[in-house]
Amino acid sequence: MILMANSSSKKEMNPNSKPTPIYLNNAATSFPKAPGLGKEVASLMSACPKHPGRAATKGEDILYTCRQEVARLINTNNPNRIVLCKSSTEALNIAICGIDLHGSTVVTTAMEHNSVLRPLYRLEHLKKISLIIVGCTDQGRVNEAEWKQAIINYTPRLVVLNHASNVTGAVNNAESLLGFARKNGALTLLDASQTMGIITVDSTQIPADMITFTGHKYLLGPTGTGGLYVKEGLSLEPVIVGGTGIHSDLKTMPPEMPQKLEAGTPSVPLFGGLLHALKWAASQPEYHLNTAKYLSKLETGLKSIGARQVNVQGSRTLVVSFHLPGWDNEDISYILDNNYSIISRFGLHCAPLIHRYIDSSSKGTIRFSLSRFTREEEIDTTLEAMKDFRQ
């Protein structure tokens, strides 16, 4: 049986043409990266290796300079409190598993990514913690009343908060939420994977004992980079142990930060790439005006074709999440990619719990996520393409 649908005439277009991709998946990983990043990484890959801290070498200590740049970005004055990791996931595991949580309660939210949920589920499964998951609003922002009630009721040892949802882009009021938790005796961990690079993450304003970030999203650096800020005075037990290049005679990890939490040889070329991206972004701070305009244009256009969107008000990142009744999300993404060279993301976006609270289909949402490099004509082209899905 052949079911005909969308039987209007075909668009005039060379079927074999492959236009330059329109990349709208920056919440997963950014593209393009900071200008010159590839060249910088390649140059470091082919340069004579230096192992800072491990041998007498001349020249810039790239890892330390990278820590300095991250420290400057989050407004802390001790670069040695920045632990360099290969991802935000690794950083979250080091943070969550580095605290003695035995027999205590952890409060987190339904907005979280699996990089937070799975380490916590594992500790819960091992009966080391009781886990309380606070709900969120239909915008994908934490329900503040429920958060405060959970902290009062359960007096958690640790709270873990997503600064912004990777699904809806809603930004939480981290100052208020973490401030309340800290006032009630909890250690506070902020997952800033979706905000570092586009929203200010100031460690002197946000009462976070730990902040995790990734290098390859809005910081425009390479994949394989991320990190963890640990507040002065807080001591974490290392999750991974091994060589550090210092105190090699000890049976335990050295007590100094950041080496205590950084076993193994780090990727100097990749962190050199991240350093390059951080310096580039610091020299190019202005872009917010256009991206806000493009988000609004995208939302208005999607609404006009009947898309159901998560309507995020207030502080937000560069994400639009939606579904289109009558269509499978994966088919829309597939058609956009193959027919129009528009790269989007569909599904649960590794944040399975938030979909219970937002206007999501049974198979999640389609997500368009912009970057500072997104151009208005790319938004226009995307909206033109989306019109072809009208039935």
Partner: protein, 95 residues
């Protein structure tokens, strides 16, 4: 035409198995109709290149774009290896 490459794709839902089949030539309308013979076909011709989706009695979902070199096939969890083997045997007969 031959199968050039079979790639397992990500699937974040129910453990179904999604594979991409890439061919040495393009899938045209006649090939699409041959794959849909006796099955349910959804056909969307108003895109610059038509999109199709085939639902088979075996529980497979086959989707593709007319004129492209690949199709994506979602296999159900139940009897997945047998169904995949059977699909590939039938597919080779059509190529």
């Amino acid at each position: 035409m031959k199968i050039e490459k079979i790639t397992k794709l990500e699937d974040c839902f129910d453990g179904s198995f999604v594979y991409s089949y890439e061919f040495t030539g393009t899938v045209d309308e006649s090939m699409m109709k041959a794959m849909a013979e006796g099955e349910k076909l959804q056909y969307f011709p108003n895109f610059s290149k038509p999109f199709y989706k085939i639902f088979t009695r075996d529980g497979l979902q086959i989707k593709g774009i007319v004129g492209e070199y690949n199709i994506e096939v979602t296999f159900p969890v139940t009897d997945q290896p047998e169904k995949k083997k059977r699909f590939e045997a039938n597919l080779k007969l059509l190529l």
